[in-house]
């Protein structure tokens, strides 16, 4: 197989590449915010909690849609988003301006939703859909509808975050000061939660429940370490995310590896590579 020309020859690879790049852009914007807000564990928890939504969607799909329906992707996305949002709403409300450590609460959500999701899949719908693909990602499952969902999400993030990024910067830096200044901090908190859930659910097919965290965290970690200003964290994170996603997809195709794990490992290697300068200094 040719490492580059395959992407011109095979439409499924084109979809995979486009999907990965859109997800990289979306996560590139959200990732520094997640890291700055110390929502890393929260993101991981919501990702694992999404498994409950996937299980319910896979169980319901046979009763709602005819087999091989083109709306399957949209249905799974809608049900997973709905279930995850309903389950995560109490978490979103209790973590707003919470001074007490909320990690125990997040851990509880994590365990409860994932456990319930696996139980539902085992008891009600064994053999229905490929749950493993949602755990580790299967880029070959990407449909045009998935790409449309990612694109709409990208536009939503642009309008909600990018346009008012200086307000978001203050919110991330000092939530109390932002509140006193009259920014609707609770709305910002809930919007952030909503976007985080949407990104996680829409990225499940690419990276899977377990590996989506690499997209959510590593670009932000890189950006917060090297960017000279808050605004530039977005560009640093975007650049890192795009570069690592492109490399990961090409490597996965060229070496015939699973895309999700390849993307995650590529991002980790890129991040470790960026630390060499620091290691030399020490």
């Amino acid at each position: 197989m040719n490492w580059i020309t395959d992407f011109i020859t095979f439409p499924f690879l084109q979809k995979a590449l486009i999907g990965c790049l859109i997800l990289a852009v979306i996560c590139g914007v959200l990732s520094p915010m997640i890291v700055a807000k110390r929502f890393a564990f929260m993101g991981s928890s919501i990702a694992h909690g999404a498994l409950l939504g996937v299980s319910i969607a896979l169980f319901l799909i046979d009763y709602i849609l005819p087999p091989e329906s083109p709306m399957t992707s949209l249905f799974v996305f809608a049900i997973t988003t709905l279930v995850t949002l309903v389950a995560a709403t109490p978490l979103a409300l209790t973590t707003f301006r919470q001074k007490l450590p909320s990690d125990a609460l997040i851990g509880l959500f994590f365990t409860a939703t994932m456990g319930l999701g696996l139980l539902i899949h085992q008891s009600l719908g064994p053999g229905k859909g490929d749950l493993l693909s949602y755990l580790f990602g299967n880029i070959l499952m990407l449909s045009t509808i998935d790409l449309m969902i990612l694109l709409i999400l990208g536009l939503l993030i642009f309008f909600l975050i990018w346009i008012k990024r200086s307000h978001w910067i203050l919110f991330l830096y000092d939530e109390e000061a932002a509140f006193i200044q009259g920014l609707p901090t609770k709305r910002y908190h809930l919007i952030f939660f909503l976007l985080l859930t949407l990104v996680i659910v829409s990225g499940l097919k690419i990276s899977g429940v377990i590996l989506i965290n690499s997209f959510l965290l590593i670009p932000g970690l890189f950006a917060l370490k090297f960017a000279p200003s808050a605004k530039s964290t977005f560009t640093y994170s975007l650049g890192f995310s795009l570069m690592s996603a492109l490399t990961g997809v090409i490597l996965a195709n060229g070496l015939n590896l699973s895309t999700g794990p390849t993307l995650a490992v590529t991002q980790v290697i890129f991040y470790l590579g960026s630390q060499i300068r620091d290691l030399r200094r020490h």
Partner: protein
């Protein structure tokens, strides 16, 4: 014109589950009890009182971070959102976030109008902070951070400045400089500050609020008597000189802390023998 008017304001924190309910209240711990005071543009109000007396809680209520349990709180501000600057006691900055001084000051901008870089630099000069605007906020000391917040207050034309223990961690010269700077700010705003440094508060503030939960006294500093401070702190101040020329020594370090059992005894003593400043001065000489 009055900037903020507080009438009969009370506040209670919900008690933690492990705390035993006392007779005062079953589920709530009373922090502030019917506090009344006001402060106007051109004035600095100093809030004095012991730890746990409710000073910081009162500032948070004024900043809008906490809601009072009862009572009224009236602001007379052109725009409440940019009218208040609150400088907290604890440094709550997210130090891992690389926001620059310029970006932080730009967040003060009003809807639809961006503050030019030159104005940000001018605001920093105004608060005597010699730092490049592109420097990250994480590199600033606590005192410098306070000054950046004051620069933001200047840019926003804030009308109410709330400072919680601003002199903490500063040396004598630093304290004087900061409080003199507040003297500049009060020309266009009302300033409320909480501080344990009685000498500095008496020197730089116009009005005082002595606060210890249910006990409070509020008036111009010229009306302050030693027994009021002693009743607030439940302590005996041996060498405190008040109503003096502000350049005189205001020695608050030499005081005897009494146990709560002795409070009433002290109160009786002060009632019979109010402080005579001239006698005290003569004693010291």
């Amino acid at each position: 014109m009055t900037t903020v008017q507080v009438r009969e304001l009370s506040f209670s924190y919900p008690k933690a589950a492990f705390q035993k309910a006392d007779q005062e209240s079953e589920n709530f711990q009373l922090i502030l009890d019917r506090i009344t005071f006001e402060v106007s543009k051109g004035e600095i109000l100093g809030i004095l009182g012991p730890n746990g007396g409710g000073k910081s809680t009162l500032l948070k209520i004024l900043a809008g971070l906490l809601k009072p349990t009862s009572g009224s709180l009236t602001y007379h501000l052109e725009d409440k959102n940019r009218g208040i600057i609150y400088i907290p006691q604890k440094d709550q900055r997210n130090l891992s976030y690389p926001i620059t001084i310029l970006e932080f000051l730009e967040s003060a901008r009003l809807p639809g109008s961006k503050i030019p870089r030159s104005e940000c630099i001018h605001a920093l000069e105004r608060v005597e902070l010699k730092r490049p605007v592109n420097q990250p906020m994480s590199g600033l000391s606590g005192g410098e951070f306070q000054r950046v917040l004051l620069a933001k207050a200047f840019l926003q034309k804030s009308q109410l400045i709330l400072m919680d223990e601003p002199t903490k961690g500063l040396d004598g010269i630093g304290q004087d400089k900061l409080l003199e700077l507040l003297g500049e700010f009060k020309k266009n705003a009302a300033v409320i500050l909480v501080d344990h440094n009685i000498a500095q508060v008496l020197k730089h503030c116009d009005r005082l609020l002595c606060l210890n939960k249910s006990f409070h006294w509020h008036d111009h500093k010229s009306q302050l008597k030693k027994n009021i401070l002693e009743d607030t702190y439940h302590c005996e101040f041996e060498h405190l000189l008040i109503h003096e020329n502000t350049d005189d020594i205001l020695n608050h370090d030499h005081h005897k802390c009494s146990h709560h059992d002795d409070i009433h005894e002290h109160k009786n003593k002060h009632e019979q023998d109010p402080v005579d400043q001239d006698t005290k001065r003569a004693d010291q000489e």
